[in-house]
């Protein structure tokens, strides 16, 4: 049984508009059987934070194309993507890419 975790979940680039316009969320993830990874976190976000139209944020078990995930300010691709195991006090940032000029 893993201990509960506190993480900061942030949204930007417009992704926050799916979360009532709130950019920063302090999130407590309760202790559970296995460790918390990004895959679980996405399920948790969909259930607990997403206010509308989940298909604009989640696609399958990952984020939709055009959303970049940053774990402690580093591209999640460097850290195992969905399999990254969350640590206490991690900061997870979901940025919707901008295309405007």
């Amino acid at each position: 049984m893993a201990a509960p975790l506190c993480v900061e979940v942030e949204f930007g680039g417009g992704a926050e508009l799916l979360f009532d316009g709130v950019k920063k969320h302090q999130v407590t993830l309760s202790g559970q059987e296995g460790p918390w990874d990004i895959r679980n976190l996405l399920v948790w976000i969909k259930k607990n934070l997403l206010k509308e139209r989940p298909e604009l944020f989640i696609q399958g078990d990952s984020v939709r194309p055009g959303i970049l995930v940053l774990i402690n300010d580093s591209d999640w691709e460097l850290l195992g993507e969905l399999d990254y195991q969350l640590q206490d006090q991690d900061s997870i940032l979901f940025i919707s890419t901008l295309h405007g000029g």
């Binding site: 680039g13 417009g14 604009l56 194309p65 300010d73 890419t97 901008l98 295309h99 405007g100």
Partner: protein, 283 residues
């Protein structure tokens, strides 16, 4: 690419004197700049300040691509165009304004959309490309053309109170497809007409983009290859995040590329590069 330049005229030495004083730049950097050519894709909110500072700094040749014409609703951020330019092609309007600032630069306006049939040939004529466009198909098109032509791409974007900046395909750094292998669903894409933008936000980003172009063109090297600058204008926050490196399996810059020619990017993205009457989108 332009031929190398051996010396500055007396007028140029006077004009660029404040830059020539900088030991990191100096005569050597200024001569490199004078022999450099930059393609600006989009003469809107980003392209205007970018082209303004590249022209002022003395880049040798500036290509200016935009298929659009000046409208009143552009003037709150597209500062190279004036009221009397309403209805004019933005590429021509930009060139005319820039010529007043620095007539020693060569301006090549292209009053047409960047399209797959000609983009590669066009990009090959320039040393550095600045993506100042406003839509997804053009961003993939510019990226692929830069990778296939072997040119560094300085990319910025802005919407609402936010802006992003990075440099693609420089050294070992990633390209746009390394980061975004698949285009976003069309219904998630917001442009400035839908979402709004505060004009000075592309102003800040266009200036920073010009700075990256200048550092590449003068040999100082960019600061944002492989990293991404996030700007939040409401909070005044800047944040640099680390991007992945070049992906060995990238479709265009990887070890076994599947994209070896430019494609139909509107079909790839499911959206149009030029249609201004898209339905309102949420994100």
């Amino acid at each position: 690419p332009l031929p190398p330049k051996a010396a500055l005229s007396r007028g140029e030495i006077l004009r660029y004197s404040r830059q020539l004083l900088l030991p990191e730049l100096g005569m050597r950097g200024q001569l490199r700049l004078a022999a450099a050519s930059v393609l600006v894709v989009g003469c809107g909110g980003l392209g205007c300040p970018l082209a303004q500072y590249l022209a002022a700094a003395g880049v040798g040749r500036l290509g200016l691509v935009d298929h659009d014409v000046v409208e009143t609703s552009n003037l709150a951020r597209q500062v190279l165009h004036g009221e009397e330019r309403a209805g004019c092609a933005k590429a021509l309007s930009a060139a005319a304004s820039l010529r007043r600032l620095n007539s020693e630069v060569e301006y090549v306006p292209y009053a047409q959309a960047l399209c797959p049939a000609t983009a590669l040939e066009l990009v090959r004529r320039y040393d550095v490309v600045a993506d100042c466009s406003d839509n997804v198909p053009t961003r993939y098109l510019v990226n692929d053309a830069c990778v296939l032509a072997g040119r560094p791409l300085v990319s910025a974007s802005a919407l609402r109170f936010e802006g992003h900046l990075t440099v693609y395909h420089y050294g070992d750094g990633p390209c746009y497809r390394c980061i975004f292998p698949s285009p976003p669903p069309a219904e998630t894409v917001t442009n400035c007409s839908d979402g709004g933008v505060l004009g000075v936000v592309p102003g800040v980003l266009g200036c920073l983009q010009a700075l990256e172009v200048l550092k590449i063109a003068t040999g100082l090297g960019p600061s944002y290859s492989g990293s991404l600058l996030l700007f939040d204008a409401l909070g005044g926050h800047f944040r640099r995040v680390q991007l992945r490196g070049r992906r060995p399996d990238c479709a265009v810059c990887g070890q076994r590329p599947t994209v070896t020619d430019l494609l139909d990017y509107e079909a790839f993205c499911g959206s149009s590069a030029t249609d201004k009457c898209r339905p309102v989108r949420l994100l």
